[in-house]
Subunit: 447 residues, 2 copies
Amino acid sequence: MEFVIIGGDAAGMSAASRAKRHQPELGVTVFEKTQDVSYSACGMPYNIADPDRSMEDLVVRRAQVFREKQGIDLHTGHTVTKIDPVRHKVSGTDDTGKAFEKAYDKLLIATGASAVVPDIPGKHLPGVFVLKNLEDGRKIKEWIAGASVKKAVIVGMGYIALEMTEALRARRIAVEMVKPRPVFLPWMAPELAQQVRKTVQDQGVLLHLGKSLTRIEAAAPGLRVLSQDGALETDMVLVAVGVAPNSRLAEEAGLELGPKGAVAVDDHLITSDPDILAAGDCADAFHIVTGKRVYIPLALRANRAGWAAADNVCGKETALPGIAGTAVFKVFDLEVARTGLNEKEARDAGFDPVSVTIRSRSRAHAHPGAATLWVHMVGDRGSGRLLGVQMVGREGAAHRIDAPAVALSARMTVADFYQCDLAYAPPFSPVWDPLLTAANQLLKVLS
Amino acid sequence: MEFVIIGGDAAGMSAASRAKRHQPELGVTVFEKTQDVSYSACGMPYNIADPDRSMEDLVVRRAQVFREKQGIDLHTGHTVTKIDPVRHKVSGTDDTGKAFEKAYDKLLIATGASAVVPDIPGKHLPGVFVLKNLEDGRKIKEWIAGASVKKAVIVGMGYIALEMTEALRARRIAVEMVKPRPVFLPWMAPELAQQVRKTVQDQGVLLHLGKSLTRIEAAAPGLRVLSQDGALETDMVLVAVGVAPNSRLAEEAGLELGPKGAVAVDDHLITSDPDILAAGDCADAFHIVTGKRVYIPLALRANRAGWAAADNVCGKETALPGIAGTAVFKVFDLEVARTGLNEKEARDAGFDPVSVTIRSRSRAHAHPGAATLWVHMVGDRGSGRLLGVQMVGREGAAHRIDAPAVALSARMTVADFYQCDLAYAPPFSPVWDPLLTAANQLLKVLS
C-alpha cells in the first residue's frame, strides 16, 4: 500500500513517522515544497529575539533522518499542483522544473496555512515580511542583521504580532502596530485585553487601531507605510494579520471545504473522499463545546491529527473528539491564556451565556511577589455548563488554563468545576484558586 | 436559632462569616482557645524565612472585625472541654480559669489538628518546636532572632519539614533532617522523590533516614538529639512528623470517628449526630477517586467545608463530592505536586493500577531556560480510569496538576485525558504537554 502525504511540517511528518512505526513495510512518500521539514514554527519569534541563536536550532529532525533512519521517501522542493481523486494520483513540479507524479492508496493533505497579506501596492517590496515558515524567519533575521533596523511596523495585533513585538523590542527595535479594526484583542474580555494593551504600551510600542494600510512605498532609506490618515516611516514591515488554510488543491479536487475554506474532515480526519485525509493547519476540526466545525489552526492539533490520520490509514482506528480552542501566549512579562468560547462565540453557537470577570492574586495572602491574575469565565444560563475561560497575569495563567480545558472536555457544569480539588500552596495561589473564585462568582450569576 | 462553633481558624471562621451572611439574625458564637483567628497557617515557613516580616502579616482578619463588623460572638482564649449532645450544650474554661457554657441548636466542630510529637524525654525543652498554629510560628521566629541559631535538626521529611528546611536555609541556618522510616517521600514515585532529595542535599542539608529519636537533652549551649546510633548537636529542634485530628471532644461526645481518628462526616459535613457538624483538619472527607473516607487535612478543603457547613446549617443545602488529595509544595527551586492516588493507594483501594514515569521538558524544543519536568501517572488496567498524577520540576508542576485534578473529578479515563486540548506555547511547554506524553505512554501500558 502507498501512503502519500502532501506537506512535510507538523501534521505531515507526524503522520509519516507514525505510519512507518505502525507498518514498516508501508510505502510512505512525502512531498514538501520548501527545503524544511519538522521544525518548531512557534519558536521563531523567540529565536529572532536572540541574535546569537541560529534559526536552524528550531529544526527538530532533519530530512536526512526521516529518509535514512525512518525509511520515509521524503522529497523536499517538490510542489504538488494537482490531486486526481479518480485515478488516485498526485502530480506536480520540483524546484528544477521537472514534473513528477505519484499514485496513492491513501492520501494525506497536510499543506498547512499561509499568512494572509492584504492586497496593497508595495506588499512585495524588500523589507516587507510575513512569518509563517522557517524561510520567512531566516529572511527576517537576516534583514535585521544586515540592515540597520531601528524601527518596525507590524500590521496586525494578534498573538504572532504580539510575540514578534516582544522579539523586536528585545532587539532594541522601535515598534508601531497597526490594525484596521478598532478593538484591541476583540475576542478577549475588555478588562483582560486592557492589561495586555497596557503591557505592550508600557514597552514604548505605539498602537494604531482602526487604521487600514493603503500602500507601502520605498523611502530613502527604508519604507513608508501609508494609511488613510497618514504615513509611518520604518525600516521593516511585518504583516501578521492571520492565516488562511492552503486548501486550493483540495478544492480543485472537489473536496468539501469547511469554515474559513479549510478542508472539511470528520473525526477520523477523513475528507469527503474516503481515501483522502487532511490534517494540520489546512483542515478544520470539531469544537468540543459546540460540536460544530471550526478553523483554529494550532500546533497540538496538527501533531495530534497527523498521528490520528496515520492510525486510521494503518487500520488502527482513532477518532478525535475535537478541540477546545485552548491557546496561550506570552507578551513581555504577561501570560495570556484562553480555552473554550467567549460570550459572543457562545451566543453565536446558541447558548445563553453569562460571564464574570474577577481580579485575584497569583500567590497567597501576604506571600511576597504576588501578581494580579485576571480570570474571565463564561457559563450557560440554561444548562449551567462551563463554556470558556480567559486569563491574564504575570504568572499563573499559562498552565492554569489546562484545568478548565479538561473541564470543557468533560462537559462539566460551572458547579462541578467549582467542586474540583485544585492545588494550593502559598507560593502558587490563594487558598481559593482564582479559577474557583471565578466559578463561585459565576454560580451566583447563573442561579 | 443558635449556631455554635468550636475553633476559630479556617473552617470555623469561614463557617461563622458565611452563616452571618446568609442569615444576619442568626446567633453565631465561636469559641477559640488561642488568641488567633483567621490566619494563613501555610504561610508560616515563608514568613519565618524573612526576618523583616512580622508574623502578624499572616492574619487575614482580626477578631475585632469579626465581632464588630460581622456581628459574630467570638470568644478567644476560650477552651471548650465538653460537648453535651443530649442537652445541646458545650462547656469549658476561659484563660482566666472561669467556666462557661453555651446552648446550641447546631454545633460545628472545627477544632483542627495538632502536630504529632513523639513521646520522648526532652520533648518540652526550650528550643524544641512544632509548627502548627501562629503562636508556634511566633515562638520559632523569636528563638531564631534571640538565640544564636546556627544549626537546626528537623524531625520528619514531609512537606512542612521541607518547607521549613528551605526557610531555615534562607536564614543561613544549617539543617539536618531525621526520620525513623527508611524511605524519603515514600508516597512518591522513586524517580521523582530522588529529584527532591537531590535538591535538598544540594543545599547542604544532611538527611538521616531510618533513625528514631530516643531523647533530646540540654547541652551547653543548645540541644543534643539522640538516636539509636549517635547524637546530633543543635541549636533548635523542629518536630514535623505529621498532624493528628483534634477529635477528643467529639469522641467523648460519642460521635463516630473515621480514618486516623478524624471526626466522621457525611457529604453535608454532618457527624453521626444530626445537630453536630464538623469541618476542617479535625474531620474526614470522601476521596473522589475511591469514594472512601480519608483523612487528608488541607487548607482548601477546610475553607470549603466551613462554607458548606454554614450553608447546610442555614438551610441552603450543599453537598461536597470530596477531595482528590491534590497537594503542591515548593522546596528550594523545585515545584512538587500530586493529585489522586499513587500505585499503592490504588491497589489498597481495589484497583489494578499500572503507572509510567516520564521525563519531559518545561518548555518547547530549543526554547531557552527549559527545565526537566518529571511526570508519574497511574491508571486502572480494568477500567482505563486515570487514578493519579505526580509531578516534579523547577517550573510547570504546580499549576499543571490542576488539569488531572479536574480529570479525576470527571472520572475520566486516561484515553479521555489524552484527548484534552491542553495549552501550548514555546515558553510554557513542548507541543505535546508533558501530561499528554505521560498519558500516551500510560495508554500503551494499559492496552
